[in-house]
């Protein structure tokens, strides 16, 4: 019963948040601030994880493909793996860890210190001030971060495959351009949009309802933060499976 109620509350929370994102007044300065926080400040971690993921793919891909004499396909393999799967998923997991946890903690602290009540008592809608800017920022930032992850990862794969293991740059990038279609890019983009929504939804919800489903005080905020990161990560992977399985059969 409690879990059903919680799911219902999550659904209502999502509906209210989207409604505030879609109706004026849109708080542009707050959105820009959140884009700076969720997007810009995640760049370093995306560069690092993207680069090393591409490098590992370069090694493993070359090692596997060369067994079949197909090392020329290293470029398409790295490109498709990153663009369709690893880019959206790993970027989303990184953003969850770096920005999602912080979103939950920020809103959670505002909840337990009655700052959200203060907003309400001023006759202002907390969804419009706290939640909607984060939703819009996540929907803009996560796909962009994914694109950066993909590009850095592809160059990481080239660094290993091309510069270290001897695959020529013409073969690496040429084959990649032949096999990677625009719809693969759009599939990755669509996934990252979904993941951006999941991160904003779960992390804002957990923060907003700190104290309802967790204890109060510092312990309540830390529990909510942990739950937000775990639930977001699991939902990203589960939803990735559903998106992949439906897109394969379309």
């Amino acid at each position: 019963m409690r879990e059903t109620l919680k799911m219902g509350r999550m659904g209502i929370f999502l509906a209210k948040s989207i409604s505030c994102c879609a109706t004026p007044p849109i708080k542009v300065p707050l959105i820009l601030k959140q884009i700076q926080f969720i997007g810009y400040q995640s760049l370093l971690v995306i560069f690092l994880t993207g680069g090393f993921t591409g490098m590992v793919l370069g090694y493993q891909g070359f090692n596997t493909l060369s067994r079949f004499g197909s090392d020329a396909f290293l470029g398409p393999m790295v490109g498709l793996a990153l663009i369709k799967e690893m880019g959206p998923v790993i970027s989303a997991l990184m953003v969850t860890g770096r920005a999602g946890s912080s979103i939950t903690a920020e809103i959670g602290i505002m909840r337990i210190s009655e700052q959200i009540d203060a907003l309400q008592l001023m006759g202002l809608n907390p969804y419009r001030y706290l939640v909607a800017p984060k939703f819009i920022a996540a929907l803009i930032s996560v796909p962009l971060l994914t694109a950066i992850f993909d590009v850095v990862g592809i160059f990481g794969g080239y660094l290993i495959g091309g510069k270290l293991l001897g695959v020529s740059s013409g073969v690496y990038f040429g084959e990649m351009m032949s096999y990677v279609e625009m719809e693969d890019v759009l599939e990755g983009l669509f996934k990252s949009l979904n993941f951006g929504l999941i991160i904003a939804w779960v992390c804002c919800f957990k923060g907003y309802y700190t104290g309802y489903y967790t204890g109060f005080g510092a312990e309540g905020v830390s529990t909510a933060t942990t739950q937000a990161v775990v639930l977001s990560s699991v939902l990203i992977l589960v939803w990735d499976y559903f998106l992949t399985s439906t897109q394969l059969f379309v």
Binding site: S113, E114, Q115, D117, A118, Q120, L121, M122, G123, L124
Partner: protein
């Protein structure tokens, strides 16, 4: 102005309010006293529409705030000011921005006009010079004063004040009470103040209501509570007087007028 009728509220099966009724007239300041944990703050949150009762009504000018939604609720809340026990200042904003926030978000005043209003309000509460500081950089008393300035900057018709002096030293507490009194005189708001400042508070309020175990056991004027024959009321007021006298080494500001009456209990 504010009428509470037969209010009941339970949390996880534990009854906190058991049929509370009280009334605040236009321009009247009511002190809500009683032991900790007996539902005073819960009652205040019902008046603000932050909690919904299990039974009963909270009428603000004949409108039941517990049943209002959306724009109707916002309309009532726009007439309210709320001073939180913790201050509830936005910790990522400066004191100036905190006080200016309701004006910049809800009015069409120019930046210059907002600045003038905010600075005037900060001057009233003695915070000029601290406007660029953040809540974490100022003392508890200053947080309370900044919070009071934020609550009053819109000149509310109704003020709800939750334990304004908790955690403050006696002199700072007295300053806050004097400020509330001065603001009440200036703005003539109707208000409910949850407080433990017995008997100091009797000098600035028009009415006193005492809650005990979720019920109203006393409602009357400050003069009437001093002559109440209810044992629980007597004990509470006498304990408050004793604590207050002890707390300030026999020199409680503003207490002298009633001290004789209290010791006569």
């Amino acid at each position: 102005m504010i009428k509470i009728e037969d209010l009941h509220k339970s949390f996880n099966g534990v009854a906190v309010l058991k049929g509370v009724s009280l009334e605040v007239e236009q321009g009247e300041l009511l002190a809500l006293i009683g032991r900790s944990g007996y539902g005073k703050s819960v009652l205040l949150k019902h008046v603000a529409g932050l909690l919904r009762p299990d039974q009963g009504r909270v009428l603000v000018d004949d409108q039941d705030i517990c049943r209002l939604r959306g724009t109707e609720l916002i309309r009532v809340r726009n007439r309210l000011g709320f001073l939180f026990q913790s201050g509830a200042l936005f910790d990522s904003m400066t004191i100036f921005d905190n006080v200016a926030f309701p004006l910049s978000e809800k009015t069409k005043l120019s930046m210059q006009e907002i600045r003038e209003k905010v600075m005037a309000e900060l001057k009233q509460v003695g915070l000029l010079g601290s406007e660029e500081k953040y809540p974490a950089q100022i003392s508890g008393g200053m947080v309370k004063r900044a919070s009071l300035a934020r609550a009053l900057v819109e000149e509310p018709e109704i003020m709800l004040i939750d334990e304004p002096t908790t955690g403050l030293d006696p002199l700072t507490g007295q300053t806050i009470l004097n400020l509330i009194d001065a603001c009440h005189q200036r703005l003539q708001f109707s208000g409910i103040m949850v407080t433990h400042e017995v008997p100091k508070i009797f000098e600035i309020v028009n009415k006193v209501v005492m809650l005990h175990e979720g019920r109203v056991i006393f409602a009357g004027t400050p003069e009437e509570i001093l002559s109440s024959e209810d044992e629980t009321v007597q004990t509470f007021v006498a304990a408050g007087a004793e604590w207050s006298t002890h707390d300030t080494s026999g020199h409680t500001p503003g207490l002298n007028r009633k001290k004789k009456d209290i010791h006569a209990l």
